[in-house]
Amino acid sequence: MVTPLSRNLFDILIMNKQNVITWILLLLLTVIAGLVSSAHISYVIPLILLLAVLKFIGVAFNFMELRKANVFWGVLIIGFLVVFCGLVLLIKT
């Protein structure tokens, strides 16, 4: 049975496919980060930072539409992430 709510949700899925996929991936990465942090495996810190970087890129390039902007802005964001994560890894390890 198609209710107004399910119809609405269906419309969201179809019309905003890219945003929906990004959102689901972001949630999955969040759960994975939580699990990885409590697992006793090597390279936990680089792995957690990598997951955070992927989420950051997902929000910046899809939700904030940086993919449509001049490449300069994308390079600045990636540059910031490289410097930030590089410094964290350098100091922490």
Binding site: N19, L27, T30, V44, V59, M64, E65, W73, V88, K92
Partner: protein
């Protein structure tokens, strides 16, 4: 609602406008610098930082990440719907955006209450000084973001709205910035020590 076609490929016109992007980078650099200082402090007191990190509630942190990401998702849909001139739908999604922002604040309040009840205030140790400073500063941004979104909502709700699409995009960029900052705070404060 006034919608003008913008060439986003022009370096001076990123989505939301150049001014909000300058603010975003300044904020990211500020939070990033304090987080780097926090990581640097770990080397002085690794044991204290590890024990203090374990006093944080990872479940709250994870759920709050989900709230903010979901809020950001609805914000992106709001902008998309407004560009298609679906004002009615955009209003609904904007309300959902604000609702998840409020849920974030509610859970953060619960977390803060638990910390204060346990005596883990700003002066407890170096870790909690950074924890309170960074998360409270972020919370202030979320509150400012909610005020901006409320003004956007009231603006687009009018019969003949004077709110421009660029204003909505700038507000959306500011709101997403709160996500970006949290995506840096969450792993460093809650996970890596």
């Amino acid at each position: 609602m006034e919608i003008t076609k913008i060439d986003y490929k022009n370096v001076l016109y990123p989505p939301g406008g150049i001014l909000v992007w300058i603010i975003i980078f300044l904020e990211l650099i500020t939070f990033g610098a304090v987080l780097i200082a926090m990581v640097f402090s770990v080397n002085q007191e690794p044991e204290i930082f590890h024990k203090s990190r374990l006093l944080l509630n990872l479940t709250y942190g994870t759920i709050n990440t989900v709230f903010l990401l979901t809020s950001g998702f609805f914000m992106a849909i709001t902008v998309h719907e407004l560009k298609l001139n679906n004002k009615q739908r955009a209003q609904g999604y904007l309300l959902l955006t604000m609702f998840f922002g409020l849920l974030f604040l509610a859970l953060k309040s619960v977390e803060y209450y638990a910390k204060l009840s346990a005596g883990l205030d700003m002066g407890y140790n170096t870790f909690f000084t950074f924890y309170w400073m960074l998360t409270l500063f972020h919370v202030i941004h979320v509150i400012v973001g909610l005020v901006i979104l409320t003004s956007v909502y009231l603006g687009i709700k009018k019969e003949n709205p004077r709110t421009k699409m660029e204003d909505v995009e700038a507000s959306a960029a500011f709101w997403h910035m709160c996500d970006l900052i949290w995506l840096l705070l969450f792993p460093v404060i809650y996970l890596i020590f």
